[in-house]
C-alpha cells in the first residue's frame, strides 16, 4: 500500500511537470508566433526550453530532498528553497539566450535583445518561484502525513510491547500446561480454571493504563490469578487476603496489586522448595489507601535487576498518576517475610 502511494505521487509529479512547463512553453510559443509566424526552429527552441526546464527543476527537487530542506521545514530552509529560483532562472535564461543567439547569428544580438533577456529572466524566475512554492507546499503536507502515520504505528507498537510485558509468558505457558493436566484429573476444576484464565487475559488486554479502577475490581482479577497459581503451586502457596470494606471502593491504577502479587510469587514463593505464605492486606487511613503484599522470603541488598525492574515499573506508574504523593516501599518484615507497601493518596 505504501508502495502504491509512492507510485501515485510519482505519477502526479510527472503530470504536473508536463502541465506546468508545457503550459508555460505554450503561452510563450503562442506569443512569439504572433510576431514570427510558423518557423520550425522556434518550435524546436521551445521544445528544448521545455526539456531543460523539466530537467533543471527535477535536479533542484532532488537537491532539496537530499538536503532535507522540507523534512523540518523552517523559515530558513523554505527561504533557501525559494532563493534557489534566482540561480535556476539565470541558468534557464542563459540557455534561452544561447539557443536564440545560435539561430539569430547577429553580432549586435546582446545589445538589441538586452531588455528582452531581462524580461525573460523575470518571467522564468517567477515561474520557478511558483514551481518551488507549490512543490514545497505539497511535499511538506505529504511528509507530514507520512510522519503522522509513522508516529501512530510507533505508538501502537509501544502499547503492544507494554501489554506483552504484562502477561508473564512463563506463567502463561505453565498455566496452560497445568490446565492440560487438570482436564483429565478434574474436568470441573479445569473448566473453572479456563474461565478464570479468560477473565485474567481479558483484564490484561482491555484495561486502560490511563484510568483507575476500584480496588475491589482489581482484587477480583487477582483472585482469579491466584486461583490459577494455586493450581501450579498447590499447597506450596498458602494464601490470606484481608481487604477492608472501606478500602474496597478506593481507586487504584489497574494491574498494581497484580504486579505486586506476581513479584511476590516470582521472587519469593517460587524460589522456595517448601513454598510459603502470601498475605494481601488493604486498608484506608484518612482516605489514603494502604496496600500491603507480604510473602515468605528475604530481601537482599543485591536484589536481582529483575525485581527492581518489576518494582520500578510500579513506581513509574504511580509517579505518572500521582506525582510524589504515592509511594512503594519494600522491607524485611517479621518471621522471614518480605513486605511491599504501596500508599495511594486520596484524589480530590
Amino acid at each position: 500500500m505504501i508502495l502504491s502511494v509512492a507510485m501515485r505521487n510519482k505519477i502526479i509529479y510527472r503530470c504536473w511537470q508536463i502541465v506546468f512547463w508545457g503550459g508555460y512553453m505554450s503561452v510563450l510559443f503562442l506569443q512569439t508566433k504572433r510576431y514570427t509566424g510558423w518557423q520550425p526552429h522556434i518550435v524546436f527552441d521551445y521544445l528544448l526550453f521545455f526539456g531543460y526546464c523539466v530537467a533543471l527543476t527535477d535536479l533542484l527537487r532532488r537537491e532539496i530532498l537530499r538536503r532535507g530542506w522540507l523534512d523540518a521545514a523552517s523559515f530558513r530552509t523554505v527561504a533557501l528553497a525559494l532563493l534557489s529560483a534566482v540561480p535556476l532562472s539565470a541558468l534557464q535564461t542563459l540557455l534561452v539566450v544561447a539557443t536564440d543567439f545560435a539561430f539569430s547569428g547577429s553580432q549586435s544580438y546582446f545589445l538589441e535583445q538586452l531588455p528582452g533577456i531581462l524580461w525573460t529572466w523575470l518571467g522564468v524566475g517567477a515561474m520557478d518561484l511558483y514551481w518551488i512554492g507549490i512543490y514545497s507546499l505539497v511535499k511538506t503536507r505529504t511528509l507530514g502525513k507520512e510522519k503522522q502515520v509513522r508516529l501512530e504505528l510507533a505508538l501502537r507498537e509501544a502499547e503492544l510491547r507494554a501489554l506483552e510485558a504484562q502477561i508473564n509468558p512463563h506463567f502463561l505457558f505453565n498455566c496452560l500446561n497445568s490446565i492440560r493436566g487438570l482436564v483429565v484429573e478434574d474436568p470441573t476444576k479445569a473448566q473453572d480454571m479456563i474461565t478464570r484464565f479468560a477473565t485474567l487475559l481479558r483484564y490484561n488486554l482491555n484495561h486502560d493504563a490511563r484510568y483507575t479502577v476500584p480496588l475491589s475490581a482489581e482484587a477480583e482479577v487477582v483472585a482469579d490469578y491466584l486461583a490459577l497459581e494455586k493450581v501450579r503451586f498447590e499447597d506450596r502457596l498458602r494464601l490470606q487476603v484481608a481487604i477492608d470494606p472501606a478500602a474496597a471502593s478506593l481507586p487504584v491504577p489497574p494491574m498494581i496489586l497484580q504486579s505486586l502479587v506476581e513479584n511476590a510469587l516470582k521472587h519469593g514463593i517460587a524460589r522456595l522448595p517448601q513454598g510459603g505464605d502470601l498475605q494481601i492486606r488493604a486498608a484506608a487511613r484518612n482516605g489514603t489507601l494502604i496496600l500491603e503484599v507480604e510473602n515468605t522470603g528475604e530481601l537482599t541488598d543485591s536484589q536481582s535487576g529483575d525485581t527492581q525492574f518489576g518494582l520500578n515499573n510500579i513506581r513509574e506508574r504511580l509517579r505518572l498518576l500521582y506525582g510524589d504523593r504515592a509511594s512503594l516501599a519494600l522491607r524485611n518484615g517479621e518471621g522471614g517475610h518480605v513486605v511491599a507497601t504501596v500508599q495511594i493518596p486520596k484524589v480530590p
Binding site: 509468558p169 502463561l172 505457558f173 492440560r180 483429565v184 522456595l272 522448595p273
Partner: protein, 228 residues
C-alpha cells in the same frame, strides 16, 4: 530405558507421565519435585534419561546437572526458557515446550540411546560463568589437573569442572583415556603423532596441535598399547 522426571509442579509431572504412557520402552523410574530430590534419586537409580524442568525452586535444572557425577541423557522440559537452553550452548538431547506436544515428545525420545551397561562416564556437564555444556566424552581430547579442579578441553573450549583428575580417572574408560603424566589424561583416539621427547619420554601431538609430554613410565605403557 529408565527415565527420571524432574519438575516442581505435580500436575506437570502427572501430565508428562500420562504422555509417556504411550511409550512403553520408557520406564519411569522415579519423580523428583526439586533439584535436591533429583540428586538423591539419580544416584540411587542411575537413569538413562532425565526429563528435566529448567526453572525450579532451590537447585535449577542447570545446578542439578552440575552436581551430578554422571550425567545421563537430558531432555529439558520448559514453559518458556528455551532461549536459556540455547544461550547456554547446552547440547542437550532435545528440549520440549510445555504444554508438550505428543509428536515432539516422540521425536525427542527417538534420540535416546540406552546406556552401554558399563559403569563408565558417558558425558559431563561443565559450567563456565554464563556458559555451560553437556560434553560427550569422545569429544574431550585432554583433561588437565588444576588442584581440586579439572580443565576439560574440547572443541576450542577449556572450562574447569569441580572434580579432581584422580576422581574422574576412576570413572573413565581406560581403553580410551590414558594417563600421560601426573597432571594430564589424554584421549587415545585423538592422537595425531608420537615423537621422541627430550627426557627419554614420548611427546604426543593431538589432533588440533596440542602436545603432551609423557612421563617415562607412561611412555613405556603407551608404546605397548600403540604397538598392539
Amino acid at each position: 530405558m529408565k527415565a527420571l522426571i524432574v519438575d516442581d509442579e505435580r500436575l506437570a509431572r502427572t501430565e508428562l507421565r500420562r504422555l509417556l504412557a504411550q511409550h512403553p520402552e520408557v520406564e519411569i523410574a522415579g519423580e523428583a519435585r526439586n533439584g535436591e530430590e533429583a540428586l538423591a534419586l539419580a544416584a540411587q537409580l542411575s537413569p538413562d534419561l532425565l526429563l528435566l524442568d529448567v526453572q525450579m525452586p532451590g537447585l535449577t535444572g542447570f545446578d542439578l546437572l552440575e552436581r551430578l557425577d554422571d550425567v545421563p541423557q537430558v531432555i529439558f522440559t520448559t514453559a518458556y526458557d528455551a532461549y536459556a537452553i540455547k544461550a547456554f550452548e547446552v547440547n542437550a538431547l532435545d528440549y520440549l515446550m510445555k504444554p508438550i506436544a505428543p509428536a515432539r515428545l516422540a521425536a525427542a525420545l527417538a534420540k535416546v540411546r540406552p546406556r552401554t551397561g558399563s559403569m563408565r562416564l558417558e558425558r559431563v556437564f561443565v559450567r563456565d560463568g554464563d556458559r555451560c555444556w553437556i560434553v560427550a566424552l569422545p569429544d574431550i581430547f585432554l583433561l588437565e589437573s588444576e588442584g581440586n579442579y579439572t580443565r576439560v578441553c574440547f572443541n576450542g573450549q577449556r572450562p574447569l569442572i569441580r572434580r579432581s583428575l584422580n576422581a574422574l580417572e576412576s570413572q573413565l574408560d581406560p581403553a580410551v583415556f590414558f594417563r600421560a603424566n601426573r597432571k594430564e589424561i589424554l584421549n587415545l583416539k585423538w592422537i595425531d603423532k608420537v615423537d621422541l621427547g627430550v627426557a627419554g619420554g614420548l611427546s604426543v601431538t593431538l589432533r588440533g596441535g596440542r602436545t603432551v609430554e609423557m612421563s617415562r613410565r607412561q611412555s613405556g605403557r603407551l608404546r605397548e598399547i600403540l604397538s598392539l
